[in-house]
């Protein structure tokens, strides 16, 4: 009984029996209305900033433990790995999520890649070419700050490719992600959902603070003018590419502490399900011990 009680306490500390995946998962194949989703809501878990920061701190140890086990398992041939895909409008907090969430992990096992506008060389290849080169290796946690989804988002909004080509890409993405999951990659796609008002506040803060101004790009204002078109492009991407093997999670992101907790919690749920194990010794431990002590 004591053991059961302690397990329950441990579960409560990291979010209890809560399944955030179910709560935030975007049902694929159905129209998505982003305006109907309150970006300030806290659908489960901590309800205020203090509780949110505390809950994030509580997740640090179990996340680090799971990551180490994933890494250890890879040393014995386990090829499983995790890919976190972060998408969202400018200032939605992709970079902040990497800093505060991925900062909880051991850097040795993380492969972070930020995708910017494709270079001329990248443009000479199919759109998934640069993505495939940046995938996590066995045992690693890969993190994409923007991703192949840009090729159906900005590419659609800015007409960077013919409509028929954009159209083909949704299916290409679904096939690609299916091939990843078939190959042992757990794909965790988070759309960081912020409101129009919150973006204005964050852009103004970038302008007003000399230590934030370098993050400001005048082009962000032009993009902001296209807010409704971007939201539509996101809605289409979420509808068409939230699949059973690689669902999208819609993360309310107006509150940074909630966003950080939610992404961490989603990673925890996925890593817990993988349940990676430290490998057994494939050598004679007693003999190795003797040899060491003789030296």
């Amino acid at each position: 009984m004591a053991k059961k009680g302690s397990k329950t306490r441990a579960a409560k500390k990291t979010g209890g029996d809560l399944c955030l995946r179910e709560l935030l998962r975007v049902p694929g194949g159905r129209p998505v209305d982003l305006a109907a989703h309150d970006a300030r809501k806290t659908p489960a878990g901590p309800r205020d900033k203090q509780a949110g920061l505390a809950a994030l701190t509580e997740l640090a140890a179990p996340l680090a433990d799971l990551q180490e086990r994933l890494w250890a398992a890879s040393s014995a041939g386990d090829r499983r790995r995790v890919l976190l895909v972060l998408q969202g409008m400018d200032t939605s907090g992709k970079g902040g999520t990497v800093k505060h969430v991925i900062g909880l992990f051991n850097p040795s096992g993380c492969r972070v890649r930020a995708f910017k506008a494709p270079t001329p060389k990248e443009q000479g290849h199919p759109f998934l070419w640069r993505i495939k080169k940046a995938l996590p290796h066995a045992g690693e946690l890969g993190i994409f700050d923007r991703s192949h989804y840009e090729d159906v988002l900005v590419a659609r909004v800015r007409s960077l490719a013919p409509p028929a080509e954009i159209e083909r890409r949704y299916d290409a993405i679904n096939r690609f992600e299916k091939s990843l999951t078939d190959d042992g990659v757990t794909v965790v796609k988070c759309f960081l959902h912020i409101s129009y008002g919150e973006q204005r506040d964050r852009l103004l803060k970038r302008l007003d603070r000399p230590d934030k101004r370098w993050k400001f790009d005048v082009a962000d204002i032009d993009d902001r003018a296209l807010w409704p078109v971007y939201q539509q492009a996101y809605e289409t991407a979420l509808e068409r590419c939230s699949t059973p093997h690689a669902p999208w999670y819609l993360v309310p992101a107006d509150r940074k502490w909630y966003r950080n907790w939610a992404v961490s919690r989603l990673l925890l749920e996925h890593l817990s399900e993988l349940d990676p194990r430290y490998p057994e010794a494939d050598f004679d431990v007693a003999q190795a011990r003797r040899r060491l002590l003789e030296q």
Copy 2:
């Protein structure tokens, strides 16, 4: 006066006016006797574990601030970057340093690379080929867990290349590192110095703990039998490749807390000297503000 006092307090918090670089720098061109260096000593800074952990915590904020400024500066064309090279015998704590020291930084700006035995493809290229592909980009902190030095260490001990070729490599490394520093790379090379007894204890711990056993490799015992030959190879590398532009630092590493503090402090001193600055706005801030508020 108040300001001066506060500056002094801030300086004390992060190690005062101490210059660890001078204390730990290996004078190049002179024979090195590793046995004469006590791996348990704490030549400056914190003197016990509690103070060491506290001192490391104090370094986290200034390190993160300097890293962000380096990254911000790169957005305005500053090409400077830092490369931390970690070398040391098995169990000396290269991985632990990445976890505890690099874990203090924003993962977005870190490029960690662990070098293992070269693959057949890598063997088909000059030894610096794979190194050059892993260098940090502008604004980044690169971390090498092992490095091109393996090509004059294990390669020498295990006769993986002809003696004349090994001999040529010292100069090739010095030329290569000079080209890096000329190109804006600050190279920080840390030799994590542990004692023969400490290595035994750490290897035994790996054997005894099921969650550490996966790190154990029976080949480590064979390498340990070659301890004196490895120490000689390190002595030669330190003597020949501790140059004015890229000196080696000899970090006492039997105490993990001291090792972590010392490497962090060395990074702080180098980053402080670079003194990267947030770039000035290259656009009309007031106009951008107006446009935003009109939206």
